[in-house]
């Protein structure tokens, strides 16, 4: 390679690297790792939520079947059903974001490693657990996931995405929603819905009830 061409080649590499570093979340990235059941703590959360769905369904069908604490959730589901999808996203995002933020309680969770001991880890909350106790950012993302499922959004169009936020140097969780044009919108904790690439996020992994995606591999 000639001396003149080398800097251009390096510049092209840097351009490509910067372009991909801030790219938006992609549902079609070939990063599928395993079924959701491969991660015990996540699978247990899905099971607990499945157990709660009957309570939620009975409440939605008949207000008299609702506990006092579920009446606001019922209202959001019933009135939210009449909105267009984009406004449903705004409603769910704002409704969940108003709940109490608290640092995750760490609890003993089984390890995914064979023969591994249970260790203190993040606790994944169900929708009702979150509404009762609040949580931190992955709990907000999971609660939005479950509530949008109640509103009819398909599991394959929703993922809880954990990313490394370079701007605050911390891991962050958001809910990604795949829209009709294939692009992913991110439901943030500050009520914004990000529709363009998030330059400061490096996506690490994602979950839904269908699988686990490893974006760092």
């Amino acid at each position: 390679m000639s001396v003149m061409a080398k800097p251009r080649f390096i510049a092209l590499l840097l351009l490509l690297a910067s372009a991909t570093a801030g790219a938006g979340y992609r549902f079609d990235a070939p990063d599928y790792l395993a079924a959701a059941t491969a991660w015990p703590a996540w699978a247990q959360n899905l099971e607990r939520h499945a157990g709660e769905r009957e309570t939620i369904s009975r409440c939605v069908a008949d207000e008299s079947a609702c506990s006092s604490k579920l009446k606001s959730l019922r209202l959001v589901i019933v009135k939210g059903a009449a909105l267009e999808p984009e406004r449903q996203l705004r409603l769910v995002n704002q409704y969940i974001n108003r709940k109490n933020y608290r640092r995750d309680r760490r609890e003993m969770s089984p390890s995914v490693a064979p023969g591994g001991q249970a260790e203190l880890r993040n606790h994944w909350s169900t929708l009702l657990e979150f509404l009762e106790r609040g949580g931190d950012c992955e709990d907000y993302a999971v609660a939005k996931y479950f509530l949008l499922r109640e509103l009819g959004f398909a599991a394959e169009d929703l993922r809880v995405v954990v990313s490394y936020d370079r701007s605050v140097r911390a891991y962050h969780a958001v809910l990604a929603v795949r829209r009709d044009d294939g692009r992913a919108w991110l439901l943030e904790l500050d009520d914004t819905i990000v529709k363009a690439a998030q330059g400061n996020y490096r996506f690490v992994y994602a979950l839904n009830e269908q699988g686990i995606w490893d974006h760092a591999g």
């Binding site: 790792l33 395993a34 491969a38 991660w39 703590a41 006092s68 604490k69 009446k71 606001s72 959730l73 209202l75 959001v76 009135k79 939210g80 909105l83 406004r87 705004r90 409603l91 704002q94 409704y95 974001n97 108003r98 933020y101 640092r103 995750d104 969770s109 390890s111 995914v112 490693a113 064979p114 591994g116 880890r121 993040n122 931190d136 950012c137 992955e138 907000y140 954990v162 936020d165 605050v168 911390a170 891991y171 962050h172 969780a173 943030e188 904790l189 500050d190 009520d191 914004t192 690490v204 992994y205 686990i212 490893d214 591999g217």
Partner: protein, 78 residues
């Protein structure tokens, strides 16, 4: 006799391939466990951000949220 020898060779070859596949499956499972273990070590710590200003007001959504908040206040009343 020729048939028996050919059958024995095929059986031996099949067993060898099956053992090889089993070994590769164990490696795949181990790799998966390692990757998942790495993910579960990540502790999400980003703080909740204050509500962003300047968002378009949607009156219908605001009405639903206000009504939901009122129901929550009722449920918490002594």
């Amino acid at each position: 006799m020729k048939t028996i020898i050919i059958a024995a060779i095929c059986l031996a070859g099949g067993l060898a391939m099956a053992q090889d596949d089993a070994g590769q499956s164990e490696e795949v499972i181990e790799d998966l466990q390692i990757r998942l273990a790495g993910m579960e070590q990540i502790i999400v710590t980003a703080e909740k951000a204050p509500v962003a200003a300047g968002e378009d007001v949607d009156e219908d959504i605001d009405a639903i949220l206000s009504e939901a908040e009122a129901l929550e206040d009722e449920s918490q009343a002594p």
